[in-house]
C-alpha cells in the first residue's frame, strides 16, 4: 500500500515529518517497506527560461540556446528538441546533474563543435512519464531558478507500507491516518460525507441474486458526464503510487479505493442490456478482463452481469467491454459488499491478483458501502460533471455487531506490560472501539475491524499503540540446579551416527527431499508424488536417501573430485510413514595414488560394509548378533551386497556395490558403493542406569592359536567364524580371519581360510591337554561345515 505524505496529511492533522511518520508506522505494525521522495532525484533540476535560440552551425536538427537558470548569467546549451524556442520556460539540468531517464550524468561537452553546458529536459528524461516529443514546457509564471521538483509539486515523499492480511482498515490512507492518530502523531480529520440528491429515479435495475457472496449491491446512474483526463493533482498522486492515470472516472474509482479502502466499479450505461445483477457465474462463462486476459468462470464465482454478458468478476476485476471510455456519457457506479471468503476462493482459483481483491478478501467496512457510493458520486460529478440518479440499495451489508468482554488486566497477563486502564481505554477509543469501562469492560468493535474477535486482539491493539518496546524483557523461571537433559533416545542415536560418520571421514550433505520420478524408479518408486511440483527434478518424495546422494556424487565427480564420501541423515518417505535413515555413498578413489601406497585404490563393497557396521555400532546396535544376509535390494550388485539383520525380517542396514545398471542411470562410471542404516530399526537399549557390569582384566595372558581350513568355495566366511567361536564359548574370546587364499596348493572348488583364535585362561593357565581339547572342538565344529584342517 503506497501513499504520499501530502495525501496522508489530508486525513491526519500533524506536524510530523516523513521520518517520524515512517518510524511510527513500523512501530505500530504497519511496516514501512520504503520511503522515497521523487524530489530527491531531481534536486539539481531548476526552472529555466530560453533566452535565445539559434540554428546550430553544423547540424540541421540542433539549436544553440542561451538559457536563464537564475544564476545571473546566460548559459549556452545545445538542444535537439523541436519545441525549443526563445521565451519557453522549461527544466534545466546543469553539468553534474544525473538524468534518471537517460541514466547519464551531465557534463560540459562540445556537441558538433559547439560547447553545451547542461540540458533542457523532456518528461521521459526525468522519468515523469513517457512523453519525449520535446522538452518540458512550464507555464509562463513559473519562477526562473526555482527547484523544479518543488515547483511541480513532486516534493512529496511516497511511503510504501506492507499491510498484514488482517488489516482491512489499513488498505486506505484514511485508515492509516487513524492508526497514526491513535499513536499520538496527530489528529484524524473526519471523513466529509457529501449529500447527494438524486435528480431522477435510477433508470437501470440493480439487484443481487447471490445474497451469500454479494449481500449488498448499491449503485446509481450519473448521466451526462464528460470523461476526459483527470486533473493534474489527481494524476500526479496516482502516478506517485504507481497507478497509471486512465480517465477521470476510472481514476476516481482508484482514488476512492486508495483513500478509503473502498473498491468501486464504473460501467458505461450504454453498453449494458437490461438489469445489472450480482449472480453466480454459469459454467464456462467467460469474461475479457481489464488486464487484457480472458477468464473462464464457474458457478463458485460471483459476477456482475446484465442480460447478455458478464461485466465484472465481482470484487476482483471489471470487464473490458463495459468499461467507461472518453465517449461515455452515462455511467453506473457500483459500490458493493462481497463476502471475503468467496473473493479469496475465486481469486485463488483464477490466480488473479488485483487491488480490489486484496481489499475485499480482507473484508471492507460494511458500514461504508453507502458512504462510499456518495463519495464516489460526488467525485465523479466534480471531475466529469453530470447529474446523479437516486441510488438503488439492493440487499444490505452484514452488520458487524460485535462486543468483546474485556478485563484490562489481560494486557499485563498476556503482553506482560502494565498499561493504566485509562490509557487502554483511550487507545481503544482512538482506534474507533467503544469501550464501556467497569469491572469487566464491554468493548464495541468498529465496523472496519472485523479482525478484532476477542480479548487477545484488544491486548494487541493496546500493546502495539502503547509500544512493543515498552514490553519488559521477563526471564522465564528456571528450574533449580543444572539443566536436565532433554534429548530423546532417537535424537541421541542421530547425533551419534552423524558425528561417527564425520569422524570416519565422510562429509555430511543435505539433499532435496523430492527427486525426479525416474531416479526413484530403481528404488521401487515413490509413494508420494507432488501434484504441483516446482519442476520435474523435484517431483516425488525420496523412497531412499541414495538417489540424492548419488546425484551429488555425480556432480562432485564431474567437478573433478577424485574421491567422494558423502552421507546424509534424513528421512525416507514411505507409504506407511517417514523413516529416519542414514545414507552414504562412496565413489571414486578410496585412497589416492601415493608414494607410500602406490596406485589409487577404488572403493569396494567391503568398505560399505565397514561403514555400515561402524555406524550401527555407534547407534548402539548389537553388532555381534548381526547376520549378513545376501538379499539386498535390487539397486545393489546381486553378488556384492548384503543386509545386516537381526533376523530375516529385521534388517538394520543394507550395503553393497551399486548395481551397474543403476550406476549407469545416474551417470556414474566405475564402482560406486553405498549403504543405508535404518535408524528406526535399531533396537533401543533399555536404560539400566549408569552402572556397568563388574569387570576386571583377567590376570593371565591370553593364548593365540592359528588354524588354516580348506572350505567349500561357496561357504560364507562368517559361518566358519561363528562355528569356531561357538566351539568353546568360555575360553574363546576372539576369532579373527587373517588370510583368505585360493590358488596353488588349494584344491579346485575350495578356499583356504586362516583363523587366529584367542583363548583366555581363567584362574589357571591352560594345560596342554586343555588346549588340545579346545583345538579338537574347533576342528570338529569346522568339520560340520565341510572344513578340513589344511595340512
Amino acid at each position: 500500500m503506497k501513499f504520499t505524505l501530502s495525501w496522508l496529511k489530508e486525513h491526519l492533522e500533524t506536524d510530523a515529518n516523513v521520518d517520524q511518520v515512517a518510524e511510527t508506522l513500523t512501530a505500530i505494525g504497519l511496516e514501512v517497506e520504503s520511503v522515497e521522495n521523487p524530489a530527491d532525484r531531481l534536486k539539481p533540476f531548476v526552472v529555466a527560461q530560453v533566452l535565445t535560440a539559434e540554428p546550430h552551425p553544423q547540424a540541421d536538427k540542433l539549436q544553440v540556446l542561451t538559457v536563464d537558470a537564475g544564476t545571473g548569467e546566460p548559459i549556452q546549451v545545445v538542444c535537439g528538441a523541436p519545441n525549443a524556442r526563445a521565451g519557453l520556460k522549461g527544466v534545466f539540468g546543469p553539468p553534474g546533474a544525473y538524468v534518471p531517464g537517460s541514466d547519464l550524468t551531465l557534463k560540459v561537452a562540445a556537441i558538433r563543435g559547439v560547447e553545451s553546458r547542461g540540458m533542457m529536459c523532456s518528461i521521459r528524461e526525468l522519468e515523469l512519464g513517457e512523453a519525449h516529443e520535446g522538452i518540458i514546457e512550464l507555464p509562463a509564471d513559473a519562477p526562473v531558478g526555482a527547484a523544479f521538483a518543488e515547483h511541480a509539486g513532486l516534493d512529496d515523499p511516497v511511503i510504501d507500507v506492507a499491510v498484514t492480511p488482517n488489516r482491512q482498515d489499513a488498505m486506505g490512507v484514511h485508515g492509516i491516518a487513524r492508526d497514526l492518530a491513535a499513536a499520538g502523531l496527530g489528529t484524524l480529520r473526519p471523513v466529509a460525507l457529501p449529500r447527494i440528491e438524486g435528480a431522477f429515479p435510477c433508470p437501470i435495475e440493480i439487484r443481487t441474486d447471490d445474497p451469500e457472496a454479494c449481500p449488498a449491491f448499491f449503485g446509481r446512474v450519473v448521466r451526462g458526464v464528460r470523461n476526459g483526463p483527470s486533473p493534474e493533482w489527481l494524476q500526479r498522486r496516482l502516478k506517485a503510487v504507481g497507478q497509471r492515470p486512465i480517465s477521470a472516472l476510472v481514476d476516481m474509482t482508484n482514488y476512492v479505493m486508495l483513500t478509503y479502502g473502498r473498491p468501486l466499479h464504473v460501467y458505461d450505461l450504454a453498453k449494458l442490456k437490461g438489469a445489472l445483477v450480482a449472480r453466480r457465474a454459469r459454467d464456462g462463462e467467460e469474461m475479457l478482463a481489464l488486464n487484457g486476459r480472458t477468464y473462464r468462470l464457474d458457478p463458485t464465482m460471483t459476477v456482475i452481469a446484465d442480460e447478455e454478458a458478464v461485466h465484472d468478476i465481482g470484487g476482483i476485476m471489471g470487464g473490458e467491454h463495459s468499461g467507461v471510455t472518453e465517449t461515455t456519457s452515462d455511467i453506473v457506479i457500483e459500490c458493493a459488499f462481497f463476502d471475503p471468503e468467496h473473493i479469496a476462493r475465486t481469486g485463488q482459483k483464477l490466480a488473479l491478483v488485483s487491488d480490489a481483491r486484496s481489499r475485499f478478501e480482507r473484508g471492507v467496512d460494511p458500514d461504508f458501502v453507502e458512504p462510499g457510493l456518495a463519495i464516489a458520486t460526488a467525485m465523479a460529478i466534480e471531475l466529469a460533471g453530470g447529474e446523479p440518479s437516486e441510488p438503488i440499495h439492493a440487499g444490505a451489508p452484514p452488520k458487524l455487531d460485535r462486543t468483546i468482554a474485556y478485563r484490562p488486566e489481560r494486557c499485563r497477563e498476556l503482553a506482560g506490560v502494565d498499561v493504566p486502564a485509562e490509557r487502554q481505554a483511550e487507545i481503544l477509543h482512538r482506534l474507533g472501539f467503544e469501550p464501556t469501562m467497569g469491572e469487566t469492560w464491554q468493548v464495541k468493535v468498529p465496523s472496519w475491524r472485523r479482525d478484532a474477535e476477542g480479548p487477545a486482539d484488544l491486548v494487541e491493539e493496546i500493546a502495539r499503540i502503547y509500544g512493543y518496546d515498552k514490553v519488559p524483557s521477563t526471564p522465564l523461571s528456571r528450574a533449580p540446579g543444572v539443566a536436565r537433559p532433554t534429548a530423546t533416545a532417537e535424537q541421541k542415536i542421530e547425533r551419534k551416527v552423524r558425528r561417527t560418520a564425520a569422524a570416519r571421514g565422510l562429509n555430511e550433505a543435505v539433499t532435496w527431499s523430492f527427486i525426479p520420478e525416474a531416479e526413484a524408479e530403481p528404488f521401487g518408486g515413490s509413494s508420494w508424488v507432488l501434484s504441483n511440483p516446482i519442476s520435474e527434478e523435484m517431483k516425488v518424495m525420496r523412497p531412499s536417501l541414495l538417489p540424492g546422494l548419488l546425484a551429488a556424487a555425480r556432480r562432485n565427480l564431474a567437478r573433478g573430485a577424485e574421491s567422494v564420501r558423502l552421507f546424509e541423515v534424513g528421512r525416507r518417505y514411505r507409504a506407511d510413514r517417514e523413516h529416519p535413515t542414514l545414507g552414504l555413498v562412496l565413489a571414486g578413489e578410496r585412497a589416492p595414488r601415493h608414494w607410500r601406497t602406490g596406485k589409487a585404490q577404488p572403493f569396494d563393497a567391503h568398505d560399505a560394509n565397514a561403514e555400515a557396521l561402524a555406524l550401527l555400532a555407534a547407534a548402539g546396535a548389537p553388532t555381534d548378533s548381526l547376520q549378513v544376509l545376501g538379499d539386498a535390494a535390487a539397486v545393489y550388485h546381486p553378488g556384492r551386497s548384503g543386509r545386516l539383520a537381526l533376523g530375516p525380517k529385521n534388517a538394520l542396514a543394507e550395503f553393497g556395490e551399486l548395481h551397474p545398471r543403476v550406476a549407469r542411470a545416474f551417470d556414474l562410471d566405475g564402482p560406486v558403493v553405498a549403504a543405508e542404516i535404518f535408524l528406526d530399526a535399531v533396537p533401543q537399549r533399555r536404560s539400566t542406569g549408569f552402572m556397568r557390569s563388574a569387570y576386571a582384566p583377567p590376570p593371565l595372558q591370553a593364548v593365540k592359536r592359528d588354524f588354516a581350513f580348506l572350505v567349500p568355495q561357496a561357504l560364507p566366511a562368517d559361518q566358519l567364524l561363528r562355528a569356531v567361536r561357538g566351539a568353546d564359548k568360555t575360553a574363546i574370546v576372539g576369532v579373527r580371519l587373517f588370510d583368505l587364499f585360493t590358488g596353488t596348493g588349494v584344491p579346485e572348488g575350495r578356499k583356504s581360510l586362516a583363523i587366529e583364535v584367542k583363548l583366555q585362561p581363567g584362574d589357571r593357565s591352560f594345560t596342554d591337554e586343555a588346549l588340545k581339547a579346545i583345538s579338537d572342538r574347533i576342528i570338529a565344529a569346522a568339520a560340520k561345515l565341510d572344513a578340513t584342517l589344511r595340512a
Binding site: 505494525g29 498476556l414 506482560g416 524483557s473 522465564l476 558425528r499 507432488l530
Partner: protein, 359 residues
Amino acid sequence: MSDLELIKREWIARIDGARDLAALEAERVAALGKQGAVTQLLKTLGAMSAEQRQSEGPRIHALREAVTEAVAARKAALEAAELDRRLATETLDMTLPVELGPQGSIHPVSQVMDELAEIFSDLGFAVATGPEIEDDWHNFTALNIPESHPARAMHDTFYFEQTDAGGNRMLLRTHTSPVQIRIMQQHKLPIYAIMPGRTYRSDSDATHTPMFHQVEGLVIDKGITLGHLKWTLETFLTAFFERDDIVLRMRPSYFPFTEPSAEVDVGYHMENGRRVLGGTEKWMELLGSGMVHPKVISNCGLDPDEYQGFAFGCGIDRLAMLKYGMDDLRAFFDGDMRWLRHYGFAALDVPTLSGGVGA
C-alpha cells in the same frame, strides 16, 4: 710406583687405544682371558705365603677390576660411536607428505540444530519433531488458518494426490508449526520445546529454496507473557551469536496462529562488506513470533483461560548464514564436497555450554 700400578696403566692405555670392538676383544682376551696377563697374575696368588697373599691379593684383584671396568667403558664408548655411525646413514626425508586420511565434516544445518538444542536445553526446552508430510488440519486449520484465509496465500503449498480422512489433500508442511499442534494435543503440560526441521514452500529464487529448515519454539504454561518471549529470544540470540551487543526490536505484526503477534528485528552492522549481527546501526527481520492464539490452544483441546504461551519461528539456514557467513542458500543443498569441507564442522566440534556453542 709399584709394578702392579705400571701394569694397570699399561693395560688401561691399551684398552682405551682399541679402535674397534674386535681390537677391544683381543685386548680383553690378552688381559683377562684364560691365558691373559692379569689372569696369570691372579694365578700367582696360589703359590704365595699367607702373609704375601694377604698383602698382594687385594692389589691384584683391584688390578683385575680396573681392567674389567676399562673394557666395559671402552665397549660402551665404541658401541655408542657405532650406533651414531649407523643412524647417520638411516636418514629419511621427513618432509615427504603423509596422508591424514579423509577429512569428514558435519553440515552447517546439523551443526546449528545441535547448537540450538544445546542452548535451549539449558533453558529447559526439549526438541520435538513430527511428520513432514502433513494433513491440512495440522498445517492450517488447527493453526487458525481456515481454507479461504488470505494467509494461506502466503504459503505456497506443495500438495499430494493422497487425501486425509476429511478428504483434504495431504501436503508438505509449510512450517514446523504442525509439530506445535501435535505436542499440544498430547496434553503433557507445561510445554517447553523447540521444533527444528525441514519445511517446504513452492518458492525458488536466490534467497528462497523450495525446501528449507525452520526452527520454532513453543511455551505453554500458566502466566507466560510477551515479556517472556522477548527475554527468551534475547537470551537465545545472545547465546547463539556469542555476542553481548545483540539488540532485538519487536514490531507488531500478524500471524493467524498468534495474538498478539510480533516480528522481531535484530540490529546489525557491516564489517568488510558482510552483515554482522550486533549493535543498532541497521535492522533486519529475523523471527516471527507471538502469544499463541486462544483458538489454537482450544483447537488442541486445552483451555485458553488456563494455559497460554508463546511461539516463535525462524529459518535455520538463515541463522547459519548469519553466523558463519555463507551467502548462497542453494549451495546448502548441492552436496559439493568443497563447500561442505569449507563451511562444514569437524566431528568433534560438538556444541557445549562450557566450550561455547559456536565452532
